[in-house]
Symmetry: C2
Subunit: 882 residues, 2 copies
């Protein structure tokens, strides 16, 4: 625990983000860089956790420290908190270590009360602005600090004033109109909460600070952290900063901007602003803002000042900056800067261009791209011709790139439910708020009627890699009848299919044809740097020649996992597979296998040919045999029905008998993997024969082949020893028959905890270990993947019992410990032992970094995840070198 | 590999049993002790494994070494191998490190051929004996070395001779009769094998040695090793020993005897012999032998000589000796001595009495009893009155003690099948041979018509702890009609129920009433020594007050596992348990739990009261909830039937819906254990409330209570942390309500590999670790216990892929490694951490020894296994002190 809990901006710096939060650290950095930052103070993130861990109790003496710091701010500004002549007004904002935009609470204009508002009127000579500010403060205070319904108690009253004054827009309400709301709001606050609105600014301040602390754990913030894999123990800092006003008249403005375009990466100043507005108006999407380029015309000097500051900040942080500014009566204030979120394509372009501009080096460029996002670029987009031909419903803001096709759904809960169930839906909303996040997460895309490129919908969708079109103000939604009316008056109903092009801002009728993604020059440059830096090989999981083609396109350096059972599921083969399974005798089984042999041969021939001189790791048959038979439950139902109707059920009963004989109460831990091969050795023999016949023939044709034969589910060295004897003999036999030698490796999956624990014994018989981290996670945790997620695992992650879903990201403490142990033990007896991962984790960037750290030779993942695995592997090298 | 492969008897000693086998080491020891042992040589066990591992190829130069050693034997005896004047004849016998009686092959009278047999006739002047010996040798050579069917090609010819000579017994066949078989046998050997019977004794010898080597791996030997947990890599030695003959006339005899009674332990010389016979006649049970006491009358000098030698050997080996002797023309030869097999009751009596006689000390006494056998003594026996009143079918030899009730089955295969399926059968055979072992193993008891107390049936049954009555020569079996005719002519059919009293040798009609076992003074003395020596606590697994009563009777020092789910299965409670499960809301669940609370209270009240001041470890609800609901498959069948008949199925469909919602594809790895408690905290809260209400009330009544609360299936520290918070709060609440403090411990099962891997984190929140080795074995191996055994595990054990069934005996390399790791990591953060085992392994002697070795504090097992666990724990102390 750091003893100093309250820091003035001039006391901090950019390196202190863990303690001061991202916003606080950057305000400090900017302050010290001499930029025009309104003075203020930051309460540390640790203090927030202290508050939460003490059951939401304010730490002793904290307010005294705040008061002391605020005195300093008063001295800097010449204003005084609660003063009846020249009152200091402040904003109270959250600011976590990692950006969580819009997730937590903010209160503005704090310090206003019945007395100071009058002082402000005198000072500004702008009563309309002052009473508006006061009623905004009352609204935020009531809803944020004291949990009142904003719409019900506050916004509804604004509507009444508009009606009374006969105006349609907020900006048209008179000073008297705003003023009339003050007593109304104070009264409703008292009625609902039972407490008087506090006139004492320090009481206001304490309430606001506590509200921000508490907002660390409101549901949308927790959900956001879960989705973005942010530790729930970080806490948020609280920034108390002198208010500046972008809404004091037409010489005022407020805006946000990026130093480069966050959607495309283009090196142009990018952003939006509103004149005579407060910052929240831009972000909330209530008024549609103007592009920043217009500021150049409206206020050329200030624009130039701002661009200068922006470029300086980009150089200082060696990253794109996302800044907030306010112009108060012709004076520019910088309220915030932070590294800008961006699409994956933008991230790559920015990284490559900044390197070329000499701002950063290659290592820094590689660090600038989040590996979790790069596969967005590989997502399909619409076919150009189909796009042209499509019926456009509307054009809006290109808020987040990508192509989405799905059914219209208006209700977030419904979208969440149907999307989770696997249905393709598009969430259509007037505007989105943080409560919509869970619905957005499982939709194909998001369409909103209001808000620009930096609205909530846009920012969140970009973070998720979801296509989003926002600001389609010409569309109309009828929520009661669940219809959407297009620009031409066409009415679309719930469940009608539409298509979104988030990169172009287009909304189209029906399902527009998709085409695969194209990779550009920046991508190639960037990944050439990645390949230079990384040391771990990236292979792919591929079961067909088509998969191999894809893998090679994405730069796979081999196939780390070829699952042969997928070949067995082919409808042409299934009957023979079933015959093999139900065979009563070895001979009958052999007969079925003889039919399957040429088919497997053809599979392997095509795959080895496609892959050429890179290793192809074939896993021998793994799943329980009953997976290839009809469902037991269906058969029970069928037999019962036939019998009830006095019909012949003998055939179905016979099959049921067979299926029951093979069924297991826990198939995941039953007769599968090498246990199959040891029970029915002829199955493995057939597969190995097919592999080597194919390889021998290809080698004769001059094709280089590198077969790696992999045995699944080894738990005891004797299993491997026994299987190896049979299989190496088969391989030798085939090579003798064909009269040609093929070099190969023989290895094993390590996916049973006991295999890891006895890896020293097992390594004597294996040239490589391939960690099947899916199964290893299952067994190490005792979680059945098929059951756990729905039954309790999601709840575990939500309730922070587990930091992450261990099937998504490797549990380094438990499963990772076993992997590390295996390699250590294995290398003691076999120093040439090769180690890799072929589970889902092979494509998860954090897991890939762990694999690099413990010295594995390769990871293998699905073809689309190869780029992100490569990038993670390169970043791991850079991190380890630091 | 030891370089010297062939050892003369005088070159070895009793310590060399691993290399020379038990028989060879003992022959060497006896030779060096100056006892009358026929000279010979031993080929090492390693040579046997060398032969087998080289694909049954004779090691280079081995026969040269044998020839050199045999020259020495020739010099000692003055006879010469193959000599036409004074030929040396030898026996060739197996002899493994651990005794495997009758499991491997033996060839006698080797060295006989057409020439030496005539020399023998001249020497002995006993042509009948010589030709009989030659035909016996031909029979054994053909059947053992060259795999011919003994019955078909050899014994059938003996019948023809009997017919020709008009005699009924072998002993009545004339010299000419035996002689006539020689050309017949040589001819049939040539016809069947295509090879001439070898006249060269060295060729005979090599063939015989190879046959003995190979017999290490014949099916019955492999089965015996599996059953007796003998390593398949030990191999057998081969003993080549000068023949002595017990069948050269009436001044000859052969027999086997024990220095004490192996059935009761009584300190009397015990055994059987036959005059004018070879040793195999006694063991094979073909002629029913005389009790050894008769030898005292028949040959008093020799008897005295033999008893002297026997007592010397007992003192030398500090154990009961099982000896074989032959008297050849008035000279006593000792052919073998080994530690005698005995019943558990005999073992205890012998150990106690030998200590009292000053032959051994207490430690040695404790070592003399095999912990795997002691629970035989706890098996029930017949009620005395019921036994008297029962209709006796027959009285036979009391071959192996114990009481058995079951259905008559005549066929070994049928007995094996039905016994495995759980049916209670009694195997009834004329005599048993090694091929009957698998049928004996699953029968309740064995009844044979021939053979004495040392017959195959008797020896094997004793080893298995199966009741056996042998030698019921008055019974008749009709195999064709599957009937058994009693002494009084009553005919019993297959499937009729009979009772066997193996201790008294009684066969009775119907099911005779059983009573529980009684424990005698020797038992008490023996276990007082065991308790003195052992340091590890032995607790019991007990779910009811009745279990606790049993546990205390067997000396449990606490309850290490009380499974609360067994209480939920009670038919009175199941409806409320089901209501709890299908409750849609927290409130509905609470209501059901409120009904269950007083029932659980009553359970705990009774159990804590019964156990008093010893710790009672309560495991919170563990199994998946669907175990308490109707079967899904039954419901599917029911719904399909009702629907096919157009009947209302809505009720069943609703239940099916609930059951399907709860069903899991791998329930063993699903929503169970602490995952239940975290999903529905109110269940655990109810249980903990019941525990503490009961304990508080009892403490108020002055009853000492020691509750230990145990959470199952922890895999991540946060699970335990979360549960602990809820549960310690509940405990505190109850104690506050009741106004009394109860000391308790809070701990966790370690049964998930990840818990073991992160035990340092977990130990911060646990006062004890209880290793649930059943689940830990499941997860560490990835074996579902419900599936594995039938599907592949039995095969694995048979085929030596696994040395033992890891659910029976702890896999120390894998699972044991995790346990050791857990305790090491756990004690680093919590040095007071208590560790114990509560899986099935807690009662398995080898596993108990491992637990002691790694420093666990207790094991917990089913009440009947407490004595064997205690004994193993004491033996572990002795072994560790060596």
């Amino acid at each position: 625990m750091t003893e100093k809990r309250v820091w003035l901006f001039r006391e901090g710096n950019a390196q202190m983000r863990n303690l001061l939060g991202g916003k606080g650290a950057n305000l400090a950095e900017m302050t010290n860089a001499g930029l025009p930052v309104p003075p203020g103070l930051t309460i540390t993130t640790e203090t927030c956790m202290d508050y939460i861990n003490n059951g939401n109790k304010m730490p002793n003496g904290l307010m005294d420290e705040v008061r002391a710091a605020l005195n300093d701010v008063e001295n800097q500004t010449g204003k005084k908190f609660g003063d009846s002549q020249n009152p200091l007004l402040v904003s109270v904002r959250s600011g976590a270590r990692l950006s969580m935009p819009g997730m937590m609470e903010t209160i503005l204009n704090l310090g206003l009360n019945d007395e100071t508002v009058e002082a402000m009127v005198k000072l500004t000579n702008n009563p309309r602005f002052c009473y508006d500010s006061y009623r905004r403060f009352l609204t935020m205070f009531g809803s944020v600090a004291w949990d009142m319904d904003r719409q019900k108690y506050f916004e509804s009253e604004v509507e009444k004033v508009k009606e009374r004054e006969g105006v349609k827009e907020d900006t048209k309400i008179s000073a008297e109109g705003w003023k009339s709301l003050i007593p109304v709001y104070k009264k409703v606050i008292k009625e609902v909460t039972g407490k008087e609105f506090p006139q004492d600014p320090y009481v206001q301040l304490q309430e606001a600070i506590e509200a921000v602390f508490r907002s660390w754990n409101i549901p949308r913030a927790v959900a956001y952290r879960n989705m973005n894999k942010i530790d729930h123990n970080f806490g948020t800092a609280v920034n108390v900063q002198t208010m500046v006003f972008g809404n004091m008249g037409d010489d005022c403005a407020t805006g946000v901007s990026f130093t480069r375009n966050p959607a495309t990466g283009e090196n142009t100043f990018y952003g939006e602003y509103l004149t005579n507005a407060q910052g929240e108006d831009v972000v909330a999407g209530i008024r549609t803002p103007k592009p920043i380029s217009e500021l150049q015309t409206e206020m050329p000097d200030l624009y130039r000042q701002y661009v200068d500051i922006a470029k300086k900040l980009e150089l200082r942080y060696k990253d794109v900056q996302d800044m907030e500014f306010t112009i108060e009566k012709g004076k520019l204030w910088i309220l915030q800067t932070r590294n800008g979120k961006r699409t994956a394509a933008a991230a790559i372009r920015i990284a490559v261009e900044m390197e070329k501009e000499g701002i950063i080096d290659k290592n820094r460029a590689v660090e600038l791209v989040d590996p979790y996002t790069v596969n967005q670029i590989l997502l399909p987009c619409f076919d150009n011709k189909a796009l042209e031909a499509a019926h456009k419903i509307c054009t809006g803001v290109n808020a987040s790139p990508g192509a989405a096709v799905g059914k219209i759904v208006f209700d977030t809960e419904e979208a969440a439910k149907r999307g989770e169930a696997g249905e393709k839906v598009i969430l259509v909303r007037i505007e989105t708020c943080p409560d919509d996040i869970h619905g957005m997460a499982v939709s194909q895309g998001v369409l909103t009627l209001r808000g620009g490129a930096t609205s909530h919908a846009a920012v969140v969708a970009k973070g998720m890699g979801k296509p989003c079109v926002s600001g389609c103000e010409d569309l109309k939604i009828d929520l009661a009848n669940e219809t959407l009316t297009g620009c031409d008056g066409t009415i679309y109903h719930k469940d009608d299919i539409i298509s979104l092009d988030g990169g172009k801002g287009l909304v189209m009728e029906g399902a527009v044809q998709l085409v695969e993604a194209k990779i550009d020059e920046n991508w190639n440059t960037f990944f050439s740097w990645v390949d230079e830096i990384r040391t771990m090989k990236i292979e792919s999981n591929a079961d067909t020649p088509k998969d191999i083609e894809n893998s090679l396109k994405f730069g796979a350096e081999g196939v780390g996992l070829c699952r042969t059972e997928h070949m067995f599921m082919d409808p042409d083969r299934l009957p023979w597979v079933q015959k093999m399974i139900i065979a009563g005798t070895k001979e009958a089984r052999k007969e079925a296998l003889d039919k399957l042999l040429p088919m497997q041969y053809a599979d392997f021939y095509a795959m080895f040919k496609a892959l050429g001189d890179k290793p192809l790791t074939v896993r021998l048959l793994d799943p329980p045999l009953h997976e290839f038979l009809p469902s037991k439950e269906e058969l029970i139902k069928e037999v019962a029905t036939l019998k009830a109707l006095n019909k012949d059920a003998s055939q179905q009963e016979e099959m049921l008998h067979i299926v029951e004989g093979l069924s297991e109460s826990n198939p995941m831990m039953g007769l599968r993997g090498c246990r199959l091969g040891l029970t029915y050795p002829e199955i493995n023999v057939m597969q190995v024969r097919a592999i080597f016949e194919a390889c021998c023939d290809l080698k004769k044709e001059g094709v280089a082949v590198k077969p790696w034969v992999m045995v699944p589910l080894i738990g005891h060295v004797n299993e491997l020893k026994t299987v190896k004897e049979i299989l190496t003999k088969t391989a030798k036999d085939v090579m003798n028959e064909k009269g040609i030698e093929v070099e190969y490796k023989f290895g094993t999956m390590i996916e049973i905890p006991r295999a890891a624990l006895t890896a020293d014994e097992i390594a004597e018989y294996a040239e490589f270990f391939s960690f099947g981290t899916n199964d290893l996670t299952q067994m190490t945790f005792g979680y059945s993947r098929d059951d756990a997620e729905g039954k309790f695992l999601n709840k575990y992650v939500e309730e922070k019992i587990l930091p992450r879903n261990p099937f998504e990201s490797l549990d380094t403490k438990g499963v990772g410990q076993l992997i590390e142990m295996s390699m250590e033990k294995g290398k003691k007896v076999n120093s040439a032992l090769v180690g890799g991962v072929c589970g889902e984790h092979g494509g998860d960037p954090d897991s890939v970094k762990f694999c690099h750290k413990i010295g594995l030779n390769y990871v293998s993942c699905s073809p689309f995840r190869i780029p992100q695995a490569k990038l993670a592997a390169a970043q791991a090298v850079i991190e380890n070198n630091k």
